[in-house]
């Protein structure tokens, strides 16, 4: 399994990378390579040119940015995994990152790479959608932005414009006394791609009721989805189990889940419901300062 031949170059900055992309339809950027290289050695991807963006220091950062945290596209997943700012400000992201692949792949894989790859089962797209992240990209010397829910449009398909390169993802931070998070995945083996995943973030008011809630489900459909109907129903409530159950089931009633070698559509439907309910329950417990479920 050897890749088809290609030209290789290293970009010193993002505009140089975009220049290469614009010059050649078959050119692709390579960052961590953890998904691109397997596709290349199996000859499912055959770029004519690889533009290595790993050394663009300006794309690797984690910093507070007003009421959010911005993460550069070439920031390694393992760096995000260990970052104190992320742990403090984006606990849902911090909870999900260890579930991405294996530590050896997180050592190289990047935030931007995973988002741009848009695998239906990937954790980062789910978190991006759940937290309403805003993605930035560069193309032809100009910067553009796109909210996560517009970015992911199909299985392995994004709305990134032709010749553009992702540059960062900015995650809004929820400010509040009682924030709680929940994250669940089900797979055959612990480190596999999820069959279904669910993420939830909850903010409780002083009255202990749900002031704000975000629920995302991944891997069940072509791209991650928010359970907006459930979120509306549950805002302002005490998030009692029955209400959560009803709201989640209702929000997932109409989906057309993926079916493949690993899981049937029926399975994904049911697991989506189960995991979303668990994620919300965990987020509630977490917000109240209590222990949460084991996985």
């Amino acid at each position: 399994m050897k890749a088809a031949a290609f030209e290789y170059c290293r970009a010193a900055d993002i505009d140089e990378a975009c220049g290469w992309l614009a010059a050649d339809d078959g050119a692709r950027v390579i960052a961590g390579g953890q998904t691109l290289v397997p596709m290349m050695v199996m000859r499912l991807a055959r770029p004519t040119r690889l533009i290595d963006i790993n050394r663009i220091a300006a794309l690797s950062y984690i910093r507070k940015d007003g009421d959010g945290v911005a993460i550069g596209a070439t920031t390694r997943q393992c760096v995000v995994e260990r970052d104190a700012t992320v742990a403090a400000e984006l606990p849902l992201l911090a909870r999900a990152v260890p579930w991405i692949g294996h530590s050896a792949t997180r050592a190289r894989g990047t935030i931007g790479g995973s988002l741009a790859n848009a695998d239906p089962a990937a954790e980062l797209p789910l978190i991006a959608v759940t937290l309403d992240a805003v993605l930035s990209y560069r193309a032809g010397g100009k910067t553009g932005t796109m909210p996560a829910h517009e970015f992911f449009v199909g299985a392995m398909v994004t709305a990134l414009p032709e010749g553009a390169c992702l540059t960062s993802a900015r995650f809004p931070v929820w400010k509040g006394e009682k924030i709680g998070i929940g994250f669940h995945e089900v797979n055959a083996r612990r480190s596999d791609f999820a069959f279904v995943s669910a993420a939830a973030q909850v903010e409780l008011g002083a009255d202990g009721k749900c002031k704000r809630i975000a629920i995302g489900v991944g891997a069940a459909t072509d791209f991650p989805m928010r359970l907006e109907a459930a979120e509306k129903q549950l805002t302002g409530t005490a998030l009692e189990p029955k209400a959560v159950d009803t709201a989640v089931r209702g929000a997932l009633a109409g989906i057309e889940p993926l079916s493949d070698l690993h899981a049937s559509a029926d399975y994904r439907q049911r697991a989506a419901v189960s995991l979303a309910i668990r994620a919300v329950a965990d987020a509630l417990s977490d917000a109240k300062g209590k222990k949460t479920h084991a996985h």
Binding site: A4, A5, G33, V41, S103, A104, T105, R190
Partner: protein, 164 residues
């Protein structure tokens, strides 16, 4: 294309195709046969080397990308001809291998783990090696090898990491 690779402390200039993976470069151009090809698509981990002290899959990197980083292979952690490191010796003590094909990779992972965490729990060891598939041992004696190595390293008055 010409690239410079820093492998086991020595910088070498090599001529490789862009599509040559780091794994193939190590094995073919540098004659370092300890890293092995098991799947060439980043799942089995038999190709694991250290990249600036961190365990990575060398089959998922093109050699051209690996310049300007310190690469360590099994040959680089073997103290000398016929000499075993403490970790290698622990693997021999517990028989943490059979066919030997996944073994250099497991040992590199052990090195990275113990440099970072000198007192790993069983769970942490299991998690650390979970990206490396072994078909021979069922993992039990590998976990014991790493635990034994950790215990012996703690008993020896030595710096935590030889790479930092």
């Amino acid at each position: 294309m010409r690239i410079e690779l820093n492998v086991n402390g020595v910088t070498r200039t090599l001529n490789v195709e862009p599509r040559t993976t780091l794994l193939d470069c190590l094995r073919d151009a540098l004659d370092l046969k300890g890293a092995h090809a098991g799947c060439e698509h980043g799942v089995c981990g038999a190709c694991t080397v250290l990249f600036d002290g961190v365990a990575v899959r060398s089959c998922l990197m093109f050699a051209a990308q690996a310049a300007a980083s310190a690469i360590t292979t099994i040959e680089g952690v073997t103290p000398g001809p016929g000499e075993l490191s403490l970790i290698q010796d622990a693997f021999c003590e517990t028989h943490g291998l059979q066919c030997g094909y996944c073994t250099p990779a497991m040992i590199m992972v052990a090195h990275a783990l113990l440099a970072d965490n000198p007192e790993p729990t069983r769970e942490e060891i299991v998690d650390a090696i979970s990206g490396n598939i072994c078909r021979c041992t069922g993992y039990a004696q590998i976990v014991e090898a790493i635990a034994l190595a950790a215990e012996r390293m703690r008993g020896v008055n030595r710096p935590r990491s030889l790479n930092k």
